[in-house]
């Protein structure tokens, strides 16, 4: 049996990383909630939809007596029916995400996780069910799920240099959100997306890049190391590589956009020095899009 004090201290240790991430996500989500696209899409079906004449079989308590009193027939007040949607999120935990070019900028990992959690906040408050794509947390609704999400997202464990999406926990016909820099091998991503499309899953992929990766502001003799240290490349004149690097980056983005189009997903590129709320807005609209 664990002593209550011990339990409490362990719980506090556990919860320690949560508040900042939660707070950041909450803060981010609030910018969207207050905006134009706020609660107009309320879920759970408590919104008025229409009055229809009562039919045999309707329970008496379903009759809206106030409306019926103004006419000769009975009316039933129908509310908007809305089934809860499952959304699965994959935020790339790879080491390549743990990089920021400037101490003032968040790492790509942090940006991805804040975006993921903020999306989760929005969706759960909208009544959806949110989970993780890698089976570690099946989609559920409720505020408690947010805490669970925050706990898992707040603890990036050991990871490979470049992450690959897992879609084992992806229910059929659900929605999915993949957040990664997509700088590693593209084959697993292609594989995952096509398989997800096969299951009728639609969603959004957000490529999160550091501004340095977009600008390539290097000169002179340089050795480039990956964050995990598994890859390296030496050049004698980095400036000469710039154009070719930018070509390759554009190519990679085009590939991702193509892939998204083929599978019916949405693609967007977000830079860590840009406003996160813009990205969140895009995600929210992409996931809520009706096909």
């Amino acid at each position: 049996m664990i002593q209550p004090a011990d339990l409490r201290s362990r719980a506090e240790d556990l919860a320690a990383p949560l508040p900042p991430l939660m707070a950041a996500a909450d803060h981010l989500a609030s910018t969207v909630l207050l905006g134009e696209h706020g609660r107009r899409r309320a879920g759970m079906g408590d919104e008025f939809w229409q009055y229809r004449p009562a039919q045999p079989g309707d329970e008496a308590r379903m009759v809206d007596w106030r409306r019926s009193g103004r006419s000769d027939v009975h009316f039933v007040r129908e509310k908007e029916w809305q089934a809860a949607q499952s959304v699965a999120i994959w935020a790339d935990p790879g080491q390549s995400m743990r990089f920021s070019s400037n101490s003032n900028l968040p790492t790509k990992l942090l940006a991805a996780r804040v975006l993921a959690l903020a999306t989760a906040v929005l969706l759960i408050r909208g009544g959806e069910r949110v989970g993780l794509a890698d089976m570690s947390l099946p989609p559920r609704s409720g505020e408690l799920q947010l805490l669970r999400l925050a706990e898992i997202l707040g603890n990036p464990g050991e990871a490979a240099d470049y992450g690959a999406p897992e879609i084992k926990g992806l229910p059929a016909h659900a929605r999915a959100l993949f957040l990664s820099d997509f700088l590693g091998d593209l084959a697993p991503v292609t594989n995952a997306l096509t398989r997800a499309a096969d299951r009728g899953v639609e969603g959004a992929i957000v490529q999160i890049l550091d501004p340095q990766e977009e600008a390539f502001p290097f000169e002179g003799r340089t050795i480039f190391d990956s964050v995990g240290g598994t890859l390296s490349h030496e050049t004698r004149k980095a400036r000469d590589l710039r154009d070719r690097y930018l070509d390759r980056l554009a190519e990679r983005k085009a590939e991702l956009a193509d892939l998204a189009r083929v599978t019916g997903w949405q693609y967007d590129c977000h830079h860590t020095d840009r406003s996160a709320s813009a990205a969140l807005m895009w995600i929210y609209q992409a996931l809520g899009r009706v096909h």
Partner: protein, 923 residues
Amino acid sequence: MLTLGTLGFTAPWLLLGLAALPILWFLLRAVPPAPIRRMFPAVTLLLGLEDEQTETDKTPWWLLLLRTLAIAAVIIGFAGPVLNPQTERTGAGPLLVMIDGTWADARDWGQRIERLDMLLAEASRNGRPVAVVTLTDRPVGALPFQSADAWRARLPSLTPQPWVPVGEEVLAWWDSAEADGFDTFWMSDGLDYDWRDALLARAEAQGDVTVFESARPAYVLRPSEFSDGEILVRGSRAVAGDVTTLSIAAQGLDPNGIPRVLARADLRFAPSATYAELPLSLPPELRNRITRFEIEGIRSAGAVTLTDDALRRREVALIAGRDDREGLELLSPTHYLEQALEPTADLITGALSDILLANPDAIVLADVATISDGEAEPLAEWVDKGGLLVRFAGPRLASSDVSRDEEDPLMPVRLRAGGRTVGGAMSWGEPKTLRPFADTSPFFGLPVPDEVRVTAQVMAQPDPTLADRTIASLADGTPLVTRKRVGQGQIVLFHVTANAEWSSLPLSGLFVQMLERLAVSTRPATPTADDLAGTTWVPDQTLTAFGDVIDAGALPGVAGEALVEPVPGPDLRPGLYRDEDRLLAFNVVNDETELAPSVWPASVPVEGLSVARETLLKGAFLTAALAFLFIDLVASLWLSGRLFGPRAGVTASLLLALAILPHQGLAQESQADLFALEATTEVVLAHVVTGDRSLDAAAAAGLRGLSEILTRRTSIEPADPIAVNLETDELAFFPILYWPVTPDQPQPSAEAYARLNTYLRTGGMIVFDTRDADVSRFGGSGPNGRKLQQLARPLDIPPLEPIPEDHVLTRTFYLLQDFPGRHASRDVWVEAAPPDAERAEGMPFRNLNDNVTPVVIGGNDWAAAWATDANGRQMFPVGRGFTGERQREIAYRFGVNLIMHVLTGNYKSDQVHVPALLDRLGQ
């Protein structure tokens, strides 16, 4: 020490290290710049990209050169380079340093002292006792041998003297000085004196003699002379050489009494000439002001020559016999005299007795027949003392009995009764012309114009002395001008009138020339021994050896005899001497001064004065090496991409800070310019910074709100308001200053008050707002009111009164009788109307003061009522509901009226007169 030309090395062996430079070159060349490791997640995209060039492996040649230079500079620097290495002078035993110390030394005295300093430093190193002696200021007794360091400390107090030592005295001094066995350094002034050889022989008897002499030739100015109306500036040089041109400056006081250069001219020495003259023709006005000539660029008493009375402007008294014909200018007896003498002399008019007190140089009596006994005596005395009495004949003289039977003491000749008239309507003969002047006449040489005719004259009685006394005569031999010498002075009689009645002489140029000759010949010439006997001359100004003219102070006077053939010395300093009104210049160089270069026997080594200072170059070389290394650092950073790559911010900002540092002053200046531009490009309302941040913000917001209202409703479109710091900012740009009063704002400094007062006097307006009308009345005891009293006490504020009903502020734009702000108090005070202001007939308003009131004082917190934020919303509530809004509107209207009043003055007040004006025009 290794010496290469003027460069020496203290550790020459280190220079062998330079041989290693080529090796270094190859070593450096082989090592490429180190790579940087950078973390970069997108390295996956780079994989497989090949470098296009492989050249940058090697360090670029210029970087190599830079590094090699840096290393070379280090090697050379540590080898101890010395520019102008000095070889030590050796020697032992006592040393006598003899300095001539004359005026000729002064021109390069600094060099001499510097050289002497080095010699003493050497002597100090060698431990030699030294005696430094200035020959013009000799010590008494034994030679003062002391340690060289003690003398070095006293070097600055050594000065040359504006005279030359006297030979016998110098030799006597040498003989009396008790010392034996010493070497002598003789710093000669480069001129030859008669005692040089004797002194040299005596010095050589004691030990070695080394002479130090400047190679520059000596130039002097001799006393300038006056000849033919020109000043002759005369220069000499000791050594005849090439053509040399010296710039001569004539110094003197300008009409304001400020010393300045009155004229400049070039004195040119012909080749192989030691003497040169410069005729200087100057307007008399300028000439009379000259106090000295000097050679520009040479600081020596010899290059300065003082001028005295010789060049002064004379005082001439004019006395006419009759002055009753007022208005007939051309017939006035003295008109032509005045015209002729005005440019060259100071004219004095007045009663004779008064004039004599002024002791003029000349007195002209035009047709004055009788002189009272009381006046005649002092006049004769004055003539006797050197005065020049010039008399002109005329009707009065001709009809009087003066000098008829016996010669009048104040007339040169006896006169016949009546005089004569020739060539007139009632007489025979032609008008007479002039005979050429005899060579004994002072007028000799003057050309006689043909057009001069004499039609009437007074005739001289033939006397034995008449021929001697005649200095000009007519063609028929009758005297025209006669002269008699009396004592030191003379009496001259023109036998014609001073105007054109009797002759055309006054109309001709000859008249002026004759007067000038007469006046010039009376100028004090070089005084003779007789002139100076028994007189005492007090030095007025003295010359230093450097040619500076200084006030003589309390130097004792000298007897006139000493100035006959003056020998300058400590007792008789060159300068300007004064005896009553007379000035006598005693120059260092006179006509007798001989200038000859000194000649030394071949056995005496002669050295120059030029000193090549030892300069250690080690520091310079090491600094250069450091600079090279710094450039190399920057260049390396740049080459390896660290200068402009990511995270280069620190480096870049450091470099930028270095580059920006010196430009701060410039930035400040342009900041003031920017402020002025901002304040003057458009009309700008301004408020005084109180130091209370929220209050200042409210004031700014208030003025912004008012500016918006003005833009919207009137043709005044002010720019954004400006906060004015009274201590630093210029106030003249602003039509109005809004000054909110807060108890804890600092009192402006005295300078700030001075500028505020100037601002108020030149039409500025200050609106004081105590902002407390809700709690206290104007002049009440609130803290704001007390602060206002404190603030306004040093200001130049006129009497005040509450705004009267007919004040122009009530109608400059809106018709107002209330001036509320956030508070609605009637207590608003402006400059009081003059007490005599009266209501014009038919006008509803009084004719009030014609100025903008310099202050408006109130407590209604107008700024708060006007204040709007950036979105144009009111910032502070005013009153309640509609009445509040109405009050705010009236507050805005008051603001509009206020600004209108400032910008248009009393225009609206004058407008009330328009009906009257129209009425008067008959419309």
